[in-house]
């Protein structure tokens, strides 16, 4: 059976095409304009790259923030169910899944079958989100891709608030004015974001194995900070940003998955 999952994020859309032997292909596109059109473009681009005809996809499920607007999908599921399924597919031992997306973080608990048993969302504005990291990258004039490696070289001298992204930005400006090294500021930023994630995680309880999904999982500094604060190993999928789309494609395979 060939299925597809489309994950609409605040900033990007991810598509996964799945067949019985695994992932056939995937793509990530930055969203511009209306969500339904962006999803269609991403989907068609993915099929074009793979050389797969639309007719060969038996079922398409959408997930993410604009999932109801993806008219080409046969059904939709929430991000949390999709991320739990996707993470469990990557790591069957996963019992806690942390997804850090552009606009927030969410923590899911799942059982041995990958079924969702509990969940929590962050409730403090943009603190603990990918957008905050992007803002910091702009403030420090650092490419996002370099942030993780740089932060690993920083000291833990900088302590930033974890409850409000706006206040944290003010504190970062103060650190810049003081001449604090960028590495140290980045380390402080990561610690701040992760303490927010850890707080959300503790609301549902944390049980190993813990999997980190979402684009922010590519930031090695965040992964390291999460390991330290939760005192637990953190598994990261090969393509963490497509976990939601993968989960949606997996859910589209399930018999109970009516639209």
């Amino acid at each position: 059976m060939v299925t597809a999952g489309i994950d609409i994020g605040h900033e990007s859309v991810n598509v996964v095409v799945l067949h019985d032997d695994g992932i056939l292909g995937h793509a990530t596109l930055v969203i511009s304009g209306e969500v339904g059109a962006a999803a269609r473009l991403a989907f068609e681009t993915t099929l074009g790259r793979l050389g797969v005809a639309r007719a060969s996809i038996q079922r398409i499920f959408a997930t993410g923030v604009g999932r109801e607007n993806v008219t080409l999908a046969d059904g939709h599921r929430t991000q949390m169910l999709s991320h739990a399924r996707g993470a469990h597919w990557w790591f069957p031992g996963a019992r806690t899944v942390v997804d850090v997306g552009a606009e927030g973080n969410r923590v899911m608990r799942c059982d041995a079958r990958g079924s969702l048993t509990d969940f929590a969302l962050n409730d403090k504005c943009a603190a603990g989100s990918g957008v905050f990291l992007e803002t910091v990258a702009g403030m420090l004039d650092i490419p996002i891709a370099d942030m993780g490696a740089l932060s690993l070289r920083g000291s833990s001298d900088v302590v930033l608030t974890s409850t409000c992204a706006v206040f944290a930005e003010s504190e970062i400006v103060a650190e810049i004015h003081r001449g604090t090294p960028r590495e140290d500021i980045l380390r402080g930023v990561n610690d701040s974001i992760v303490s927010r994630i850890a707080a959300t995680s503790r609301r549902v309880g944390i049980e190993p194995d813990l999997v980190l999904t979402g684009g922010v999982a590519r930031n090695a500094g965040i992964v390291q900070a999460l390991r330290e604060q939760l005192e637990m190993d953190v598994a990261v999928p090969e393509h963490p940003e497509i976990t939601g789309a993968l989960g949606a494609a997996l859910l589209a395979r399930e018999p109970a998955g009516a639209a």
Binding site: T78, L81, L121
Partner: protein, 384 residues
């Protein structure tokens, strides 16, 4: 009148300021007095027996901006207390002659005093309802509080309550509560034909008109509802618990249903359904009403119930309504609801009943995060 027309009329009524509702009634009843009662329970029967109109006092909802009350309450106080005070400052309860508060929480207790201090031209009474359920003298004490309230009405508003009038009012409110129970039973049986939003506006409207006017409309509606055509859908049957004082915005109730739930039981406007059957017994009506408050009451977070664990009543409600899950829906900063949440959660987990927590404020206007959480909860039960 069709069911849709009755519900539309109710929807219109519940959006009107309380003062306007009072004034409209007074136009039809020259010289009449109106008394508004703060949640959870107050003896509407006593107010009615004095010839006055009892109204539910439920804060400002989504429409009132706080421009005075924030300066008089701490930031950690619930919204209904602030907006109820704001109604007074903005003149939105002008036409209401009396206010009755009771000891449901510290905030309500102090709200009563603040009202007395700020609005000295209206009658404000504070009822000390019994918290002890097990003492043999508790019903007697409750009756004495009701007598004190009636005496206060006579002294301040010049309208007395005779035992005969109170007995008649008890009969009228027994009849009203019987209709409300019928609506709830109908929704348990056929939730696809009566949405929670519709039931809520009907129930709330019934707290804004004399019971003698409400009952015929409710009877018409009860007769009409079974004729509605609606196909049952594959949805999660849930009980809402915790919204017994501050009321959630209608938008939140809509989101619950849109996200895949049938709400089959709730504790919205709980005080108006406080007594679970007809007020029992014969004899002195104050004694009967006092005993009913103690012995025929729904479980509530605003009254200590020493006779059984707090979760027992909730679990019974879940079973009776054939519900699959509970959505705890306390207002932000609602201490009674949040204290009991722990006890109820423990009980539900022992009974294997899934649950989730959704906090709200009456002025909440964006529901996307909540919709996402509820949809996830529904999916986790229906697709796993």
């Amino acid at each position: 009148m069709t069911a849709e027309a009755i519900i539309e009329r109710c929807r219109d009524l519940v959006t009107q300021p309380l003062g306007a509702v009072a004034e409209q009634w007074k136009t039809r009843h020259p010289g009449g007095k109106v008394v508004a009662v703060y949640p959870v329970w107050a003896p509407a029967e006593v107010i009615h027996a004095a010839g006055m109109l009892p109204l539910s006092l439920l804060g400002g909802g989504t429409s009132v901006e706080l421009t005075h009350a924030d300066a008089r309450f701490q930031s950690f106080v619930c919204s209904i207390a602030k907006s109820t005070l704001e109604l007074g400052f903005q003149g939105l309860v002008k036409g209401v002659d009396g206010f009755v508060y009771s000891n449901i929480c510290d905030v309500a207790r102090n709200l009563s005093s603040i009202y007395q201090r700020n609005f000295q031209d209206v009658f404000v009474e504070y009822l000390h309802l019994p918290q002890n359920s097990t003492s043999p003298s508790v019903a007697v004490y409750c009756a004495s509080e009701l007598r004190r309230l009636a005496a206060g009405f006579e002294q301040a508003l010049g309208l007395g309550v005779t035992p005969m009038a109170l007995s008649k009012s008890i009969d009228v409110y027994n009849a009203l509560r019987a209709r409300l129970r019928a609506f709830y039973a109908f929704r348990i049986a056929e939730p696809q034909k009566l949405s929670t939003v519709d039931l809520y506006v009907v129930l709330r409207a019934a707290t804004l008109v004399p019971p003698e006017e409400a009952i015929p409309s409710l009877d018409t509606l009860l007769a009409e509802l079974p004729q509605r055509s609606a196909r049952p859908r594959d949805r999660l049957r849930v009980v809402i618990e915790g919204a017994f004082c501050e009321q959630p915005p209608i938008g939140l109730l809509e989101v619950l249903e849109e996200a895949g739930c049938y709400v089959v039981e709730d504790d919205l406007l709980l005080g108006w359904r406080w007594i679970t059957g007809d007020v029992a017994g014969e004899g002195d009506p104050y004694d009967r009403l006092g005993a009913a408050y103690v012995n025929q009451a729904v479980p509530s977070s605003t009254r200590h119930e020493g006779r059984e664990h707090r979760s027992v009543g909730l679990i019974e409600k879940v079973r009776r309504a054939n519900a699959q899950a509970v959505i705890f829906m306390p207002a932000k900063f609602c201490e009674p609801a949040l204290f009991d949440y722990v006890l109820m959660r423990q009980g539900l987990e022992r009974a294997g009943i899934p649950h989730m927590l959704v906090e709200f404020e009456e002025k909440m206007w964006t529901f996307e995060r909540t919709r996402n959480e509820i949809e996830t909860f529904v999916e986790s039960m229906m697709f796993d």
